[in-house]
């Protein structure tokens, strides 16, 4: 069973699923979904700590916004730790971070914006032809429609 977790093929898929739920706000990706899709031979009680370990690694890497040197040093240290990762797993994580780093950073920035953002903007210019107040005739008026809303927040 432990041999299954040490494999590196399903890990790439796992990291994608983790990134989707942790950073990009995808709510449908549960632990059970990931386990049954990618590590079906592994019992849930073994899978859970493994998943949390991977999630923790991704969050640490994202928190520090590691460049490639820092990433290599960090992952190498993880391979030397008791209960850490294998060299194969380190390689998968490294490859994953390199291709997803930018998108994850964008999502993190989005998550940190808690005020309204500008969703859409429409406008037109009117020329008043009739009005209660004569001094308003032939005054151009710009009318703007702004749609404001919250975006990028997870789970609130």
């Amino acid at each position: 069973m432990a041999g299954e977790l040490e494999g590196s093929k399903p890990l790439s898929g796992l990291l994608s699923g983790l990134a989707q739920s942790t950073f990009h706000g995808h709510t449908g990706i549960t632990e059970e979904l990931l386990r049954s899709q990618l590590y079906s031979e592994v019992p849930p009680e073994e899978f859970r700590p493994f998943l949390e370990k991977m999630r923790g690694l991704l969050k640490s890497i994202a928190y520090a916004d590691m460049d490639f040197n820092q990433l290599e040093a960090f992952l190498t240290a993880q391979t030397k730790k008791q209960g850490g990762i294998t060299a194969d797993q380190a390689a998968v994580i490294s490859k994953f971070w390199k291709s997803h780093k930018t998108k994850i950073k964008e999502s993190l920035i989005n998550q940190s914006r808690w005020e309204n953002s500008l969703k859409t903007m429409n406008w037109r210019v009117d020329l008043k032809s009739q009005s209660k107040h004569l001094d308003q005739i032939n005054v151009p008026v710009a009318i703007v429609e702004l749609e404001l809303g919250k975006s990028g927040q997870i789970g609130i």
């Binding site: 928190y63 920035i109 998550q111 940190s112 309204n116 953002s117 406008w123 710009a142």
Partner: protein, 97 residues
């Protein structure tokens, strides 16, 4: 960037903001004032180094009954540049009308 914000402010104050009209004389809300600030999100609990600049705007708006509310929102720099571009286009149209 600050220069752009200042130009936007001048544009809106000159061309688009109006002194409060009599109650019931306008069919849409009226823009009374526009305030802006530029900020930089430095760090968050999920990312130590965000380094993300933004423009925050507050609009003071009077509705048809004269009631005044503030509407505020934030924009990323690209969003702000789009926002600003719309106002420049509006100003150009108003010139020609």
């Amino acid at each position: 960037m600050a220069a752009d914000c200042q130009s936007l402010l001048e544009l809106t104050m000159e061309g688009l903001c109006q002194p409060p009209q009599e109650v019931g004389s306008e069919v849409t809300n009226q823009l009374l004032d526009l305030q802006w600030k530029m900020g930089m999100a430095v760090s968050s609990d999920s990312c130590k180094s965000l380094k993300s600049p933004y423009v925050a705007v507050t609009l003071k708006v009077a509705d048809q009954s004269g009631q005044i509310t503030n509407k505020s929102f934030e924009m990323t720099i690209p969003q702000f540049q789009y926002f600003f571009k719309q106002f420049k286009e509006m100003a150009a149209v108003i010139e020609t009308v």
